[in-house]
Structures are given as structure tokens and as C-alpha cells.
């Protein structure tokens, strides 16, 4: 890997706006990871915010995930890159002006709020913007370093003009759109979405975009029942276990990489295919998730294609168990980083 000197100090970088300059080497970061030889991890303390008591969304998983990664010595704090908050300009490459205005001003109507599963608050909007910023940064760093992981991300149910299913902003879409660039030749981005729920928002956003390929493996009977059309949808049956699931991914990923030839892969490593997930209807084990993540990242990296991974969905009332499940991704990434001599 090329040794890159961080070109900007943390102070100056923080003031940059989200303009889509493909050749610009500025990262959307508040703090560059100090440990340049280790796997870049993107995290912000604002990934979590206060939610009403008893809210179903496991918000505490974000800080707990980082906690476990450090405690288990998978990573050190020096590997952590801190993202900037995603600016309105950056978000507007995917989301409509009207929706962004309503979101910033708190004028999202009741029904729309209900569909997102979140009561509107400034805090929830801020944390979603940081999350999106995190995915963008992970993609930027991946382009430089070959591999990067966020400790959040995967908000694939957000559409340009409305949110849905705990997603207010579509981080994968914003990152893909931004990194795609505006001038030819545009970067080609492959979105590999292995969250148990279809990446409907992302599929919709890039339906007509030839430079972004959306690939989703999901359980047919899970939310959303109203499906969109990804470039490649694999709808699996309830109860699918490790072996068949992995075979399914193995059957498609290599030829996709071959034929589409992406310049960047965004990987949504949702853990909700796990058998213990409260909402997912599949039966993967911890080992199955690890094998899956290892396979995806290795397959992409070994072709010299950078990959940025996000944690995707997972629903459990046991936050620590859930955070540990999400950490499987980062452990697998660490393995890939090590093996690849990155």
C-alpha cells in the first residue's frame, strides 16, 4: 500500500464543504486516524443520540460496538477516523430540497414520522447526518487505503423525499453518489447489501444510474413487503442457514465484480440475518456472519477493488449481544487487512 501523509490537519479539514471533487484528496473528517498502518475505523460519538424511553431502536449499540472492539483489542483508538457531519449540500445529491428543509426544521408530518419509526427531534437528525458522514468518510478512506469500516451505517430504507424503517437519510446512496463523481469517467460503485431487509431506498435511487449497481440479498417475507427493483435482487426464504446463505452470495459476487468492474464497493454487513435477530427470519450463526463478511471483503480486496463496510441492521433487546454481533464485521475486516498485508 502507498504510504499517504495526511494532507490536512484536523482543524482545516473540518471546514470543508461537501462538494463533489473527485480529484480532491480532502477527507470529510474531523480527525484523521493516527495509526496509518492499521485498518481504518470510522466512528463518531454522535452516532448515538437520546431516544424516548423504551424506544425499540437499539441506539446504544453504536458506542457499545466501539467499546467492545477496543476492549477485545481488535482495534486501538489510534485507528479511529472521526467523520464530519454530512452537510446539506452533500445530502442534496440524493435527497430533495423539500425533504431536507422539513428534516432540518422539524416539519415532517405525523404520518411520515410514523413510517420512519422515529419521533422527530433535532438529535435524531444530527445523529443520522453524522452516520451518513461516516459512511462517506469510510468510502473516501477505503479509496486511499483499500479497506475501511464504519461503526454505523446502512440506512438503506431512506428514499429521496422521505424516510422509512428507522432510516432518515440514505448513507449508502449519498456515499455512492458523492464518490461516483460528476465528471467522466465516473467511478463505478457496487453496493453489496446483505442486510436481511431489501435495500429498497437505494434500489430506487439508482434505478436509472448505470454507474451504480445495487445488489441485495434479503428475506422475501421481511419488511419491506413493498419491494423495489435493485439491479440484482436475491430474495431468500425464511429459515435459510449458514451454508446455503454463503453459497448464494458466492454464486453472485464474483461474476458481478467481473462483469460490472466497480472502482469501489460499499458493503452493508447487516447482522439481521442472524437466527437470534428479533425481526429477521433467517438462521445464520455468528460463524456464518463471520464467514460471509470475510468472503465478501476478501473477494473484493483480492481483485484490487477498495471496499468500505457499514454495520447495517440488527435488532435485539440485548444491546451488548447485538454490539458484539456487529463487531464480527470489524474482526473479519481486521483479518482481511492483516492477510492482505495492507
Amino acid at each position: 500500500m502507498t504510504y499517504i501523509t495526511p494532507m490536512f490537519s484536523r482543524r482545516t479539514v473540518g471546514r470543508l464543504l461537501g462538494a463533489a471533487f473527485t480529484s480532491c484528496r480532502c477527507f470529510h473528517t474531523e480527525l484523521v486516524g493516527q495509526e496509518s498502518s492499521a485498518l481504518p475505523i470510522v466512528h463518531h460519538s454522535s452516532y448515538a443520540c437520546e431516544l424516548p424511553a423504551n424506544h425499540r431502536f437499539p441506539m446504544a449499540k453504536f458506542p457499545r460496538l466501539l467499546h467492545f472492539l477496543i476492549k477485545d483489542q481488535v482495534i486501538t483508538e489510534k485507528q479511529v477516523w472521526v467523520p464530519e457531519i454530512a452537510s446539506e449540500a452533500l445530502l442534496s445529491c440524493v435527497h430533495t430540497e423539500e425533504y431536507l428543509n422539513n428534516l432540518m426544521n422539524g416539519t415532517i408530518n405525523e404520518r411520515e414520522q410514523r413510517r420512519t419509526g422515529f419521533p422527530w427531534s433535532e438529535g435524531i437528525v444530527t445523529r443520522c447526518r453524522y452516520e451518513t458522514g461516516g459512511t462517506v468518510l469510510a468510502a473516501e478512506v477505503a479509496l486511499q487505503r483499500g479497506l475501511a469500516c464504519s461503526t454505523a451505517g446502512g440506512t438503506h430504507h431512506a428514499f429521496p423525499s422521505y424516510g422509512s424503517g428507522f432510516c432518515l437519510l440514505n448513507d449508502l446512496a449519498v456515499a455512492a453518489k458523492y464518490l461516483m463523481g460528476i465528471s467522466s469517467p465516473k467511478r463505478k460503485v457496487l453496493i453489496v447489501d446483505l442486510d436481511v431487509h431489501q435495500g429498497d431506498g437505494t434500489a430506487f435511487i439508482f434505478k436509472e444510474e448505470p454507474c451504480v449497481f445495487t445488489f441485495s440479498v434479503h428475506c422475501g417475507k421481511n419488511f419491506p413487503l413493498r419491494k423495489q427493483q435493485s439491479d440484482l435482487d436475491i430474495s431468500v426464504d425464511d429459515g435459510l442457514e449458514d451454508k446455503e446463505y454463503l453459497s448464494t452470495v458466492e454464486a453472485h459476487l464474483p461474476w458481478l465484480l467481473e462483469t460490472f468492474g466497480p472502482d469501489l464497493v460499499l458493503y452493508d454487513a447487516g447482522v439481521d440475518p442472524h437466527w437470534e435477530d428479533e425481526l429477521g427470519r433467517l438462521r445464520l450463526t455468528d460463524q456464518g456472519l463471520y464467514q460471509r463478511d470475510l468472503y465478501v471483503m476478501k473477494t473484493v480486496v483480492s481483485r484490487g477493488v477498495p471496499v468500505a463496510a457499514v454495520i447495517g441492521g440488527g435488532y435485539s433487546r440485548d444491546i451488548d449481544k447485538l454490539a458484539l454481533r456487529h463487531s464480527i464485521l470489524h474482526r473479519a475486516a481486521t483479518q482481511v487487512w492483516r492477510e492482505g498485508g495492507m
Binding site: 422509512s164 424503517g165 413487503l225 413493498r226 437470534e276 428479533e278 433487546r317 440485548d318 449481544k321
Partner: protein, 370 residues
Amino acid sequence: MAEMEETDFNDILDDWFIESLKTYKDLHVYQLEHPTQVIEWTSGRTVCVAGYSSSKNEILELHLPLKLFADENKGLCAERDFKVVHGGFAEGPVCCLRHVPGTRCVVTNDGLSSDLQVWTVGGDDSDVIRRTGSVKGRRSVSEGGSRIAAPLSSQLLHGARSSDVQLTQLTSGQILYTLETDSADPLSSLQFVSDTVFLAGCCNGNVYIADTRTSAAPQLSPGPAAWGGSVLWWTDASAGRVIRLSSSGQAVVSDLRDLGEAVSWAQLDVQSHRCNPDDVRVSWAPALDNCIAVSGFSGAVQIYKTSVWGTERQDVQPLFEHRGHAVSSQSDDDVFVTAHVWHPERPRTLLSAASDGSVHVWDWVDQSEL
């Protein structure tokens, strides 16, 4: 066009799914091939249901999803589906089904005669529910179905009208007690309030209280003065209180020892005026104070808190409404809830069934406690 409708319908279901994450602690759905109007606990985790079409009907014993019972250890259990554990066939409709406590027997009535059918569920490694006996009703011809109450493992209290209620020894068929009344009021409910004292709720609102140990005349409490028109009444008793509900949604709470007096009244928010005795159910929550569940007026099950009712007949709003059957029904006709039961121990867990064959088990979140 049909595709568009399917998309809209899926969208509605998706909306409801997201909302249900907030309003329920647990929710599991199941689809029967044919609807049931009976749900009866046969253990803490199993229920019996049965069809009510005019010809042959299935009787099924279902095991509730294991995931529901996992509680703190939800992660340990992935099984989220209902399972059919026993099944059998009835020759006619099943309008009433009761489990005989301490046994593997259930008793049914077809709503056509007052005779009862006795069934044995499983046993000897069998997964069959088979007919093992019958109990003759007092009068063979009946316009309405019999109600059944089973206090002990060997006795059945049953009858279609107040004039033909009897307590029958299950094994021998011996009649141990008969209720003597002047009028032959069709019954909407029959239940024991102690080992030997029972309450017979009539469709016209009359309530008889009697003790099977004595031959003394039963106590009659006439129905509450209803607001105009002929109405039907349903009754439920628990922990010394009795609730009576009319087909126009009026509800009266009384003390068991003083049925003539009303402790509180309310006008419930019900959508229609059902006029079939089998349609509506009202029941006290066994593990929650002052809560009732009401179903049969629409596609929803409503939970009301009676402690906030007063002596004036005020309009009241439900504490919770389970709209799952209505929302997820794909049938063109309006779906309505045919039965509901509370879980005997879990405070906020109920089962409900609807006319489209759906069966739901749900554990609702009391928003007022948040």
C-alpha cells in the same frame, strides 16, 4: 390495477409493521385455512381452535410461538411460528369449546342442538383429536348454541337457555344439578365464580347466580335499563366484579354481591351494532386490574380501563386497540374479530381470531405507562 392495489396493500402493511414495533412488545400472526370463533387455553402455551362452517370442520390444538415465552432470553429462541400439534375433525360447526381442567379433554357444542361432544386431545403419541364421548343436553332442540363451563375435571355445566342449564358428571353422564328458572332466556355466557357458584348471563341482560350445592332458587338480577330497541347483552365476571356489555356498546360494571347496583357505566367506542350472540366477547383481564377486552364489533380488539369510568354514562376511549386483523386482511368483506382470550398469567398478552382465518398473539405496550 390489481398490481397497484397489491403494492398499496403492501405499503399499508409496511406502515403497520413499523408502527407495531412501538405499540407491541410481541406480535405473532398465523393463518388458519378456515376461521375460528373459539380460542380456548389447553395449557399455558397451547390453545384449541375450530371451524364453524356448516359442514365438516377441523379442530386444532396450536402451540404458541416459543419466541413469545423467551422473555429475557429472547435470543435463545428463534421459533416464531405457531405450530399445529394436534388435529381432528368435527362433523358440524364448533360454536363453543371448553377445556376440561386437569385433563386432555375438550368439550364442544355445534350451536344447533344442546348436546355436547367430548374429545380427547392426543395421548399415546398420537397427534389426533378424537371424539370420545357425548353429553346430552336437557332439551334436544335448541335455537341457539349451548354455553359450557367446566369447573372441575369431572363436571360440566352447560345449557342453551336459562331453563335448561345443568351440571353433568362427565364420565357417568349423571345429572348433578339443574337450574330452575321461570323463563327460558337464551344464554350468552355461563361461568363459575367459585367452585360451586356460577353465573348465567342471558342475552336479554338478565343474570342468574346460583350455587350447585343447593337446590335454593337462583338469584335473578334483571338486565340494566337499556337505551331503546332490543339489545343483546354479554357478561363476564372476575374477582367479584361483573361487567355487562350491550350490542350498542353500553357497559355496566357491578359488584357480584349487588348486581342490581351499577358501580360504573360507560359508552364504548364501538363501530357497529352486532346482533348475533356468538359475535361479541367481553372479558376481564386475569392479571391486570380493572381492564377489559372487547371484540366482535369490528376488526379490532379494544382494551378499556374501567377504573376511569364514572357513574355517568360517558363516552370512553380504549386504552389500546389491536387493529392487526383489519389492517392485514386482504378480503373484500370487512373482517371482524370472532374471538379473543387473555393469557391467564401474562398481564398484557392476548390471542385474537378473525373472520378471515387470522390468529394473532400479541403483547401490547401500555402507552400511558411510558
